[in-house]
Assembly symmetry: C2
Homo-oligomer: 300 residues x 2
Amino acid sequence: MTDPTHNPADYPPFGVTVDLVVFSIIDKSLRILLIQRDEPPFRGKWALPGGFVHPDENLEQAARRELAEETSIGKEVGHLEQLGSYGEPGRDPRQPVVTVAYWGIAHDLPEPQGGGDARYAEHVPVTEVASGSIRLAFDHNEILTDAIERLHHKISYTPLAARFCANEFTISELRSAYDTIWQDTSQFTENQTVAQEPFEKPQLSLAAPQSVPPGKLDFPIHALKQPNLKLVDQPKELTYTKLDSGNFQRSVLQINGFLQPTGKKSSPSTSGGRPAELFTTGDLEELTPPIHPKTPKPKK
Amino acid sequence: MTDPTHNPADYPPFGVTVDLVVFSIIDKSLRILLIQRDEPPFRGKWALPGGFVHPDENLEQAARRELAEETSIGKEVGHLEQLGSYGEPGRDPRQPVVTVAYWGIAHDLPEPQGGGDARYAEHVPVTEVASGSIRLAFDHNEILTDAIERLHHKISYTPLAARFCANEFTISELRSAYDTIWQDTSQFTENQTVAQEPFEKPQLSLAAPQSVPPGKLDFPIHALKQPNLKLVDQPKELTYTKLDSGNFQRSVLQINGFLQPTGKKSSPSTSGGRPAELFTTGDLEELTPPIHPKTPKPKK
DNA sequence: AAAATAGTGTCTTTTAGACAATATGCG
DNA sequence: CGCATATTGTCTAAAAGACACTATTTT
């Protein structure tokens, strides 16, 4: 950095990658998009979709391109923003690599298709990762934890939770999104030790760590869970209690610019019930006051 | 990405740098640490301190090392966290470079010493940058804007504002920190067009853009302001009104774990007044409820 | 009618904010 | 004392939260 005649070779070369945490809610459970790696390192393990950045594209473009390549998911991602960068030496056994993590929200995602580095891609409930049933490659567990923390903050003071819903949605659907998120991530926030082991440098020259058959897989994700960890369907509802529908209704409606009425009404669900009004999101960017999860007893 | 025998040369090489936005409050004004570049590109221009990351250090270590090298400021930085990464193609005219920005808070900083890339370093009021009197190199104006936004959010829901104060501080000093920050950054939040021109790729092979004498400088920063921009001491107090001392006192004291009384009392200021109690920060990480700037009229 | 979901009303408790009053140091 | 700042008190308006009630659909 002290030579006016600059030579890039004088500078330490890094690989720069992007990785993505794409949240969605399917069947009332909060999920993230994971791929199963088809290449070493960490061959056969679950990982966040991602890959190397090209010199002629910016970071967000790279993130969208890699997502499309590995999971064939594109415009369905309704929100995408940067989470942070991870550059612990040795985090990639191949070479110095800094990864720029992104996180996003999507609604109504199709079944992802594997491609590129990925032999397989799937929407995995975050509770599977939180419980330790699934362990991710690289430092992706750490990235996921940070993404969930960011998700929590963002849905409280921005209208982003609406991105989990369709373009037109009811207030109940919005409330259900909040409930699902807070329910499914309570393990991350209440005790941060879940599936969070310190990052270890992987050994160099590792092939497939377990004997996973090559080629495309068609068995369910449960077959890939770590066998040494029990996968009890923990009823650890912990302490989160759902939002009150009446109070929620009033709260969001009194935030000016949050919800835009469409005049239309939803068709009631199969189980009956009064049809709800349909809304879209307005142009508001910051919710005042913010929406918080119910804390059952803020022990004086 | 499809070759099991990995060769780093196959992957696009990037330079990875760190840049730092270090806030402090000096003479009741919010300031950031800037250096004047002693090397091309942007020789002679103001920039955030920073530099290339080494392959054997992590990103935060690199940030602290570069800060110490260029400004001789080290442990005085009481808080340092990542802001985000910036990788627009062409943002560095020399080669593909991704920079990881950090922001921090420091109290009682010494006069910084130039070093390394920096011929000069100084604590510059953010209002000087907001008003356009000072234009930063690379995309550092954009980074600064993002840092201020993050600072705003963080001081509202964390105890971080206390890092602007000494280890033991009075509630008034804490309140003054909030007032100063919100006052001095109101131009950034209220109209985001201040000194925010779209990023332009700098021309290649540029030497010193203006005729700046080489070597160490000892003239005040005003001599380096852009001559084509008037540097009116704009009294644009805009709309921020200071916090009420009584209400602030009650608010912060009722947040359990925020302030830890020391039992000691401060000596009153030169202008007299009742001595105030001295506090340290507790172990609380999130302020509930958060502390917000006063919005004069939330026009119903 | 019964069940289910949407939406409103009401009451109580808590909080925010304006602003007055008191406390404690200094010259 | 008179000034300046710290700290407490008081009152009012707004918001949060618990929960009962009404509305509109399906079976």
